[in-house]
């Protein structure tokens, strides 16, 4: 059950265990240091003029009135940038994106010009003084029409482009899958839509760019989840030498993938500082964040499942139409244009599987980020878990029974899916059974049957998910050519305190605590004596950053291994101090002692002092006690979990109330169970948002209808039940400490559980599927037999 109490002081673990987060005193007291807190002498402020139209040719831009504003320092348009060759930049998926529009605008709120002024108010005021003359073009908003022959071509900037097609992708064996489907007793098909949603972090995106006039060195304080990757991209794109770029990601107020891409605003601020010679701050407002930065999802999935009439699932296939917006800004390893959608085979033992996807441009904001989804796994899991429920509906089987019948067995691991993913470890059934036990599953079903008799609507929804996180092996995973390995450096100071430096960047996940605990576990120094440093490219080793739940699987491994390397050196020094051979020493978490004579021992602190001291060291050993490594994961890790959701629906108003939610997660070895619970609570809440209330929608002219938090709803404590969390532990066999990552499990697993519960409640109305977000109106329409696609 959920317990969020911290252990008493004296029981603080030296290593893994429940421990209050080291960063919280600072964050809770409002003493964090976020990008917008950065103030530099002479700093100027930048504001961006955005397009009111979704698709239009720019006829002319008149900036004279804005230039004349007494506090305006500069007004820059796309034409100005084009002169410097800076009007376009690459996206994370090797497409190009306009920094400022030159020829035409391709989505509403696209960046058109920027103003730099002495203060934020004046910058914003001056935007109103810029006059842009647009010639309206027909926008492409309905993704289903994007490839029609008469549809306008959005990306006429790309040479030879005559349609809105981005890519086709497929995985699995189409013929073999067709064969299984042709011979199956039961085939169920459903069109399942995962609408466009937005990460909507509490802190919006922004930066302060400061180009030093003499050295030409750029320091960029930036809301980035991937400071090192950003530095390299700036070096490659803007031609700035990499050693003259320093990216600092200070405290980050939530990211969820939203802070992975490089946004035009960052480039504008850098250009402005370069040109003007003063520091320039750009921080977007809430609306700008919602309407222009990386969205997530936006998949229309035609999905099918084949099974025997006894309920043995045989195959799954799907055909996906993916809306990528105006520029393909998907954040995923280069060889995976559809991210890790390939894990749509779920947690089941299938005979065949196949998926194909077509991605298209539309006149909507670009992106397609890993919003708490480990690269499209949210979509994949949602699709298969909805499909399994549709199958249960048709077979008139209990959805848990159907799942139990088909879950992979522990002896099948490592298991290679029909789409080629190698699940590292799993023991699924006990996790499912634990969730059922906590829920009192049988009793819930009895209660539901009684309520149905009385016309009351109660639903029980189940999901079982397997995630693929911790990208990834550099042999086949890179982003813009950068391998997805991560460095870590550990220094033990003479007094036995330590500093560990990492390439990843916490956005609130608790890295300062987790990584200190990993080092503590390996070397026996208390976590409070270990400083964790991240987010400054001048002071941390290279690596690809935090997203896709990769910090613990990749950098967590790096932290453990670098500590073992230091410990190996410590052992040699200890052997000199105790005058025995290395092989005669025994490690007791914090000290080495002589085997068979525990009275002869030295602590890691004593070893540290010796390593830096004046005395002799064993032959060949240099002074100091530090090491650095780069960890290249040999495989992804595959966390999993079983979720059960109970909802009540008011039959008169169709309002859905989530009564209970049981989440049993297996993320392998647990470093800090409190942080794990926190991550799960957040993800589950996020799931309530997506399942019940959120969508970035557009009208037919392409106006974004979700430009404020009044329109794009974030769930509150009142919409969420008391989460009932628990766990099982199945360590990853290839991860040095067996940890798998937990950041996104709950966001992945909860939407299908909630939707399955709502659909289950609506069974008396003959409802087999309804698309998110299940607002009261959409639920009511489903009860009337109206299928209302959200797009």
């Amino acid at each position: 059950m959920t317990t969020t109490e911290a252990p008493p002081e004296q029981e603080r673990p030296i290593g893994f265990g429940r421990l209050l987060r080291k960063e919280d005193p600072r964050l809770i007291r409002g003493m964090g240091n976020f990008v917008d807190d950065i103030q530099l002498p002479g700093m100027l402020h930048l504001a961006i003029l955005r397009s009111p139209m979704a698709h239009a040719r720019i006829v002319s831009i008149d900036t004279s009135a804005a230039q004349a504003h007494p506090k305006v320092v500069a007004v820059i348009t796309g034409a100005d940038l084009a002169e410097q060759g800076l009007a376009w930049m690459p996206t994370l998926s090797n497409d190009t994106q306009a920094v400022l529009a030159t020829d035409k605008v391709r989505f509403q709120h696209q960046e058109v010009a920027f103003v730099v002024a002495e203060d934020r108010y004046s910058a914003r005021d001056a935007l109103e003084l810029i006059v842009v003359d647009y010639e309206r073009l027909d926008p492409v908003i309905d993704v289903r029409t994007a490839l029609n022959p008469d549809t306008p071509v959005i990306r006429d900037d790309l040479e030879g482009k005559t349609d809105n097609h981005i890519f086709d992708w497929e995985t699995g064996d189409e013929a073999a899958t067709a064969e299984v489907f042709n011979n199956a007793d039961v085939v169920v098909s459903e069109e399942i839509i995962y609408p466009r949603v937005h990460p909507a972090p509490m802190e919006t995106c922004g930066c302060v760019a400061d180009v030093e006039r003499v050295s030409g060195k750029l320091t960029l304080w930036c809301t980035t989840q991937a400071p090192h990757a950003h530095r390299t991209v700036y070096a490659l794109v803007a031609g700035l030498p990499e050693h003259k770029i320093r990216i600092i990601a200070p405290d980050i107020g939530g990211g969820f993938g939203n802070k992975v891409p490089i946004y035009p605003g960052y480039v504008c601020a850098i250009v402005a500082s370069l040109v003007i010679g003063k520091p320039v701050k750009w921080v977007e407002d809430r609306t700008e964040n919602l309407v222009s930065t990386g969205f997530a999802r936006d998949y229309i999935m035609k999905a099918e499942i084949a099974a025997t009439k006894e309920g043995k699932i045989l195959a799954v296939r799907s055909d996906v139409l993916a809306d990528h917006g105006a520029f393909n800004g998907v954040a995923a390893p280069v060889k995976y244009p559809a991210g890790f959608f390939g894990v749509f085979t779920g947690s089941y033992d299938l005979e065949a599987a196949h998926a194909k996807m077509t991605a298209v441009y539309t006149n909507k904001a670009p992106g397609g980020v890993a919003y708490a989804c480990s690269f499209r796994i949210t979509e994949a899991v949602y699709m298969v878990e909805r499909l399994v429920d549709c199958l249960a509906y048709e077979l008139e089987m209990d959805p848990v029974e159907l799942r139990l019948k088909n879950l992979l067995k522990p002896e099948q691991f490592p298991y290679t899916t029909k789409t080629g993913w190698v699940y590292d470890s799993g023991n699924y059934e006990p996790t499912m059974r634990k969730a059922m036990e906590i829920a009192g599953y049988e009793e819930l079903r009895r209660e539901q049957a009684e309520k149905r008799e009385r016309g009351e609507l109660m639903g029980i929804g189940v999901s079982f998910f397997t995630e693929a996180v911790g990208a990834g092996p550099r042999k086949d995973m890179d982003i813009l050519g950068l391998g997805m390995a991560d460095g870590c450096e550990l220094r033990i100071h003479p007094t036995g305190k330590a500093v560990v430096r990492l390439s990843v960047k916490s956005q609130g996940q608790g890295h300062e605590t987790t990584f200190a605990q990993i080092v503590a576990e390996e070397i026996g120094i208390p976590p409070e004596d270990i400083e964790v440093l991240e987010g400054d490219t001048d002071n941390t080793p290279f690596g690809l950053g935090t997203y896709g739940s990769r910090s613990t699987p990749v950098s967590g491994a790096a932290a453990a291994l670098v500590t073992r390397k230091v410990r190996d050196k410590a052992q040699i020094i200890a052997s000199g101090m105790l005058e025995v051979s290395v092989a005669d020493l025994e490690w007791n978490k914090g000290s080495f002692s002589v085997k068979g004579d525990p009275s002869k021992s030295v602590t890691i602190q004593e070893i540290a002092m010796r390593a830096h001291g004046a005395g002799d060291l064993p032959e060949g050993i240099e002074g100091g006690l530090e090491a650095q490594i780069c960890y290249n994961p040999s495989n992804l890790t595959y966390p999993f979990g079983a979720y059960i959701c109970v909802v009540d629906i008011d039959p008169g108003t169709a309002v859905v109330k989530v009564r209970r939610f049981i989440a049993v997660d297996d993320c392998g070895t647990q470093i800090n169970p409190m942080i794990i619970e926190g991550q799960v609570h957040g993800g589950l809440t996020d799931g309530v948002g997506m399942a019940l209330m959120q969508m970035i929608s557009f009208d037919e002219d392409g106006n974004c209808l979700a430009g404020s938090l009044m329109d794009y709803l974030i769930p509150t404590a009142l919409e969420t039940p008391d989460w009932e969390t628990d766990s099982t532990v199945t360590p990853s066999p290839h991860h040095p400490i067996g940890a798998k990552g937990i950041g996104e499990s709950a966001t992945v697993g909860s939407p299908p559980a909630i939707v399955n519960a709502v659909v289950d409640a609506l069974k008396p109305y003959g409802v087999r599927h309804a698309d998110m977000p299940l607002t009261p109106s959409r639920v009511w329409e489903a009860m009337q037999g109206n299928h209302t696609p959200p797009i």
Partner: protein, 291 residues
């Protein structure tokens, strides 16, 4: 951070001062009460007043008082006070029902009754409450005051009967014997504006409903009093059939539009369902049985 356009600001010290300022500064000036409607609009630059006249020092407008035959509420009375008032809970439980589902504590600490009515948002809850309770509004100017009934107060979405040199100072609620009232709202999330909401007020004569009113929010260009409902509630015996009938009348007399909060059909259905529920509860309260 969303930043408003430049404006000038003055704090009024008395109602007369506020009205005089407004008269002098004209159309480009706005009163600022709780600011929870005006400031968001200014930050989004949907409203760009040149002058703000702050009326938060006008302590003479903060009150809930009982007169012989009516309750009077000062325009600057905050949501929070309307929620907490035992006097209102006793005579008009609809207030507490509504206030519990208006916005969140932060907004309720500042937002005012006067600001709510003057904002004239079609989804505004207190306007529906005031419609159901047959309230009237006291509007002051330098030349005197006039009283406008709730049905004449809203003249269009975001438009009221308050002229450019006038100020809403008080709202009056007639006290009726054996009365009951209730409010029902469907929202997509706590603190969200209504998908639809309905307020009902009835007064009884023995076992019969002597009269009643229903006000709806978010079903048309303005929060509306459903006139035909009052006719149907004239001297009738309460029953489930009656509630259904009145609900159907409410549904037939509103004109909601499909938007992100819901489809026209759903909102029409809610107009029926919420009218029925609020009426049932209002009657139960009038009869001394809380439902």
């Amino acid at each position: 951070m969303q930043v408003p356009a430049p404006f000038e600001y003055e704090r009024a010290t008395t109602v007369e001062h506020a009205i005089a300022l407004r008269e002098r500064l004209g159309e480009e000036a706005r009163f600022i009460a709780g600011g929870h409607s005006l400031l968001p609009m200014m930050k989004l630059r949907l409203a760009n007043p040149e002058y703000l006249i702050d009326i938060n020092d006008l302590t003479e407008l903060f009150y809930i008082s009982e007169e012989s035959d009516e309750i009077r509420i000062g325009a600057m009375t905050r949501h929070r006070e309307l929620l907490d008032s035992e006097l209102l809970a006793q005579y008009f439980p609809i207030f507490r029902d509504a206030e519990k589902v208006i916005a969140d504590p932060v907004v309720r600490n500042r937002g005012t009754l006067g600001g709510s009515l003057c904002q004239a948002d079609p989804s505004e809850d207190l306007s529906a409450v005031c419609n159901a309770l047959d309230a009237s509004c006291v509007i002051k100017s330098t030349t005197g005051e006039r009283i406008v009934s709730m049905s004449d107060f809203h003249v269009g979405p975001y438009e009221t009967a308050v002229g450019p040199a006038e100020m809403l100072t008080e709202i009056r609620f007639p006290l009726k014997a054996n009365a009951g009232s209730a409010y029902e709202k469907v929202e997509r999330r706590a603190g969200d504006w209504a998908v639809v909401s309905a307020g009902a007020a009835v007064w009884m004569d023995g076992d019969r409903i002597a009269g009643g009113r229903v006000g709806l929010a978010a079903v048309g260009p303005n929060t509306t009093l459903i006139g035909p409902v009052s006719e149907a509630l004239d001297n009738v015996v309460p029953s489930e059939e009656l509630y259904q009938l009145v609900g159907d009348i409410a549904a037939a007399n509103c004109s909601p539009q499909t938007d992100q909060r819901g489809t026209e059909a759903y909102k029409t259905h809610l107009a029926m369902e919420l009218t029925r529920r609020s009426l049932r509860r209002a009657v139960a309260r009038a009869q001394g049985q809380e439902a």
